[in-house]
Symmetry: C2
Subunit: 320 residues, 2 copies
């Protein structure tokens, strides 16, 4: 994601790492547990926020970095709690907290990171509006995950799938862009356009993620292959493959099992590959990215616009 130089905010991103480290240094146990945890993410959410916050009015980094940090902390907290839900063993290439410690620690560390995010917002005087936007963001993440949990091993309609990935991912990316636009003092319609860019980007991101869950390389994605299916989360590649009569019976048989084995996942991948599901998902993701590009406001800082377009390219072409 080599978009940084375009906006000259390489310094921001270096500083972001320092802010993140500092954010988990208040307590000795938290520091020990969280320092490895916060390394190595894509930083997509803070990057989006930082770019969108530079679309017109230019604030110094000091005013932006605490909120950028809060967004990454909320993301990290939700990953930590997701990994409990999924029983995931690996994330970002390292052991998850529930694998390394236990579910208890993972619950508490996630809670801590959420609280720390709200602390950063409050102590840097972003005001109630920003705090309100973040609280709604966290609520939506939870509502999306609860809906997902209550529908495990059920085959969702395309609409249900979109509802879920919207709450899980697209709303988050959209919120980052919206917050940036607000801070940059764009006009309302421009903020909405940026937020729409974030939504489309997020839908594409999640569809690509769902493809990578089956077809990504474990070493590159940092996650075990087939994790979603194993935990009963049925995503677009499966939804699409089920539409092919020839393949649906075998797939449904796998889904009807109490426990899905590694062999089942291999079989599922083979079945999906025999359909057009991969192409179908790629095309869908590409068209969301097309929408994202179209939504970008015209009269904003052109270096930022270029970077936001580069992010769109990254999302569709990424291997991790």
């Amino acid at each position: 994601m080599n978009f940084i130089s375009a906006t000259g905010n390489a310094d921001d991103l270096r500083d972001l790492e320092i802010y993140l480290e500092k954010a988990v240094s208040d307590d000795i146990f938290i520091k020990e547990i969280c320092t490895p945890l916060i390394k190595g993410g894509k930083r997509l959410r803070p990057k989006l926020f930082l770019l969108c916050a530079r679309t017109r009015k230019i604030y110094p980094a000091k005013k932006l970095l605490p909120l950028a940090t809060a967004l990454e902390l909320i993301h990290t907290a939700s990953l930590v709690h997701d990994d409990i839900l999924d029983g995931a063993k690996k994330r970002r290439g390292v052991e998850t907290l529930n694998a390394k410690y236990n579910a208890q620690i993972a619950v508490l560390v996630g809670d801590y990171l959420f609280a720390k995010a709200f602390q950063l917002v409050a102590e840097n005087n972003y005001g109630d509006e920003v705090s309100l936007i973040l609280s709604k963001l966290v609520k939506n993440l939870c509502i999306g995950e609860i809906a997902q949990d209550r529908a495990l091993f059920q085959i969702p309609t395309l609409g249900e799938y979109y509802g879920r990935i919207n709450l899980k991912t697209a709303f988050f990316l959209s919120t980052c862009c919206r917050l940036g636009g607000l801070i940059s003092e764009l006009e309302n319609s421009e903020v909405e356009n940026l937020a729409n860019y974030g939504t489309s980007l997020g839908l594409a991101f999640q569809i690509v993620d769902d493809l990578l869950d089956f077809f990504g390389e474990e070493k590159i994605t940092g996650k075990a292959v087939g994790g979603d299916l194993k935990s009963g989360v049925i995503t677009l590649p499966v939804i699409r493959a089920l539409q092919f009569e020839k393949n649906s019976a075998a797939l449904k048989k796998i889904l009807a099992q109490d426990k899905i084995s590694l062999d089942d996942i291999k079989t599922a991948i083979k079945i999906i590959s025999e359909t057009d599901a991969v192409e179908y998902c790629k095309n869908r993701a590409a068209s969301h990215i097309e929408c994202a590009r179209l939504d970008l406001p015209q009269n904003i800082n052109q270096a930022v616009k270029f970077s936001l377009e580069q992010i769109a390219d990254f999302v569709i072409n990424r291997k991790w």
Copy 2:
């Protein structure tokens, strides 16, 4: 806890229930899961806040109830997450979320309730200071629990025990009193006194809680007997009993086991009863309550002061 009439805030407490119900009604699943969950607590935290908010400057209930609700939501969220940690089956006399649904739902519902609390604070314009106080509160709850989790089955010193119950309980009650004092526009020293009242009250509360864990009636406490010991949390009655040479070997043997059975708990209760541990804990709790009374500021609304004294009485004499 019949202190309500003294301050004439029976209406507040009726309204609090309405606010709480409304707070969990944004989403259909959340409503279904949380409506039973929010019933039947002592409401100690919002009560303390509401009383302390009426010590001098008198605001209308509408200004106070959202924050009172937020405090109870944070408490409920932490209970929900605690119950995952402890593997508890019952709370407030009803099934815990992890027993009724699963740990996943319990994680997410807790997250939701935390976020909802911050939403209530932000959308009612309490400002960044209140949000900051709440975020530090949640952080402290987590730090306390993490420290507890990392020291399971280890016998704490008295100092470690106090450190833990301070973060777990006393800091929370203190925060409720502090927030009330701030809103009531007391002088700084009076706010500190109220906060100290809350700390002492909280230490007494937790010591009584730790006694009730062994000697309470399940039907009245709503929790299974010996839950702390079973999950490896060693509390004051055990710490004290271990000081008696005659009894410590048998107790240590129980603590050294991988799994603590119901029979072990019965044995532990018998051993504790043979020492002065119960009396010792009661005396300690009583002296904290004495401190709490002494910390109450003098020149505040006398009906409120009387109610705060009644709460102190309740805390020491309670059976649940």
